[in-house]
Symmetry: C2
Subunit: 326 residues, 2 copies
């Protein structure tokens, strides 16, 4: 089986609840960011949280679901347990046709979860208890699957654990050895801050396609203006797609900077998954021979779909949203 | 602690997915109804189902959450396991302030779940795997809690298991011994069909407030016209609130029949929980000294809120939707 995209990341189920802005302050959360939390903190936060909805998530997993929803082929590598959440995660991957090797009960470590607090401004604040997803290691990287994907897509989040970082490096070298493209999402500006030297060397040496948002790019190059960050990026021969929220996105190459308009969302209810789905549209485009501008537009379309409802994955079939004139 | 309403029912987590009408036919489902399923069938259906969302459900549990959301006090008796779904269920009850004795791991029987298929017409078709919820027995009925509730509210679904039926009867006699009101929801027209003799004798002898929809009432009295069903009902001294979908509802007493308009929903996305939430508004009204017509209106308001989004429990605080002029 050939895949358009093979994704690797932290396999998580999202626990999503709405809260007022005061909740963010009272619980010492950093609005809009992703924070890693341990068991005790997860229990404490969950206890304080209002009624929640459980939906499969995980950044790269969301992206793979988006690729499949556009009609592309995708595989995913990530770890879940055989508990209820793990079964849910596995089901939801197979349900959209993403190749995924299902839950394997492991040392009684539960499936990871991401407690997401959505404030009235539709911004999401994420608190991740990694659970078994953090055990991803080089031995989990299936060489055949990575070799069979036109593009390898990996989360910056993987750098938060040494073993997962090794898995990342192993996958990247398999991909390159097979003439495949390697793509990376910067994941989160705090994540970039934690791993800046690693990320800058990755971007200049190993990454063929870079995804990130404006904040993450500013953090990567430690600059304060977007134009400066774009200039820094252009010094490398890396294709990049950088999202800017309501301002749309830009596609950056050594030769050009292509602005992409944001697709108009009917309502903005929950921004969870916006970046993940943007990447799915872009990757679907890249693997289907579209122009960079068309790739960016598919990213915008997918992001607009996912912010229009609660949850990090598309509810509509993205394939039905493909522009007819392209 | 005194409660406005004490609810007893099958404690379930809903697994909700959208599907086309063809899915209903292909899998031999009965559209709009609730069917009890065993493990094998649950696994088979779940496998066929698209991406799903997990949210706490259970008919009487939804109603108790509605009562709490209106600002009333509520307690709930039902059984969950200590697995992920059970923990989720317990969290979501406490999160809205419903008194609930949380998960107790029991003989490795999993928390019950209801696989709900929502078709494009917003109709829901329910397939219930009862799991540990079916072990509800008389020993689970906490005499003090039932005695402390102004109204006891129970699901007709409880009659599907002999032990739960005994629990139902025990709770009803505790309530009456303490001069409390006993209310029943007919749950489902097939459920009424299964237990017609029990339900008719309950309605004439033990039930003070009856909830149901038009189909369930027609099935109860084996008549084909709504007017005939209402006449049959009026022969007993039972207060009844009967919902009629978009046509609103009627409140029936021995002396009068009060029509209640449906509250206009912005959109109708998923009718799951409409009846449960109608009951919550009515019960909140009854326990707060409102007129029958006002009680019905609160029922309509709560039902309109819940059909406007996916999931069986309110997302808005129902208290904020209370009419100001009343």
């Amino acid at each position: 089986m050939q895949y358009d995209v093979v994704g690797i990341g932290n396999a998580l189920v999202d626990v999503i609840a709405h809260a007022e802005d005061t909740f963010i302050g009272e619980h010492g959360l950093v609005k809009g960011s992703m924070t890693l939390i341990e068991t005790e903190r997860a229990v404490e936060l969950y206890r304080a949280l209002g009624s929640a909805v459980e939906m499969s998530g995980g950044s790269a997993a969301n992206t793979m679901c988006g690729v499949a929803s556009f009609g592309g082929t995708a595989a995913y590598i990530g770890k879940v347990d055989g508990d209820d959440l793990g079964v849910t995660f596995g089901h939801d991957m197979l349900a959209v046709g993403v190749h995924f090797v299902g839950p394997r009960p492991q040392d009684d470590i539960p499936t990871g979860r991401c407690i997401i607090v959505v404030t009235p401004d539709a911004q999401r604040t994420m608190n991740t208890y990694l659970g078994v997803s953090s055990l991803l290691s080089p031995s989990d990287i299936d060489e055949q699957i990575v070799a069979n994907g036109k593009v390898l897509y990996m989360e910056g989040y993987l750098f938060d654990r040494p073993e997962a970082k090794e898995a990342f490096r192993k996958a990247a070298s398999i991909a390159h050895a097979n003439d495949r493209l390697v793509s990376l999402t910067l994941s989160d500006s705090f994540c970039v801050h934690r791993h800046r030297p690693d990320f800058t060397s990755l971007v200049s040496d190993e990454v063929d396609i870079l995804f990130g948002n404006e904040d993450e790019l500013l953090s990567l190059y430690e600059v304060s203006s977007f134009d400066d960050a774009v200039e820094a990026l252009r010094a490398h021969d890396t294709l990049a797609a950088i999202t800017r929220g309501a301002a749309g996105s830009v596609v950056v190459t050594a030769d050009e900077v292509i602005p992409i308009a944001a697709e108009r969302a009917i309502r903005v209810l929950d921004t969870t998954g916006a970046g993940d789905l943007y990447a799915s549209g872009f990757l679907y485009g890249i693997t289907h021979g579209l122009t960079l501008s068309q790739c960016g537009r598919l990213g915008s379309i997918a992001a607009a779909e996912v912010i229009n409802h609660v949850g990090p994955r598309p509810l509509d079939e993205l394939n039905s949203l493909l522009p007819t004139e392209e």
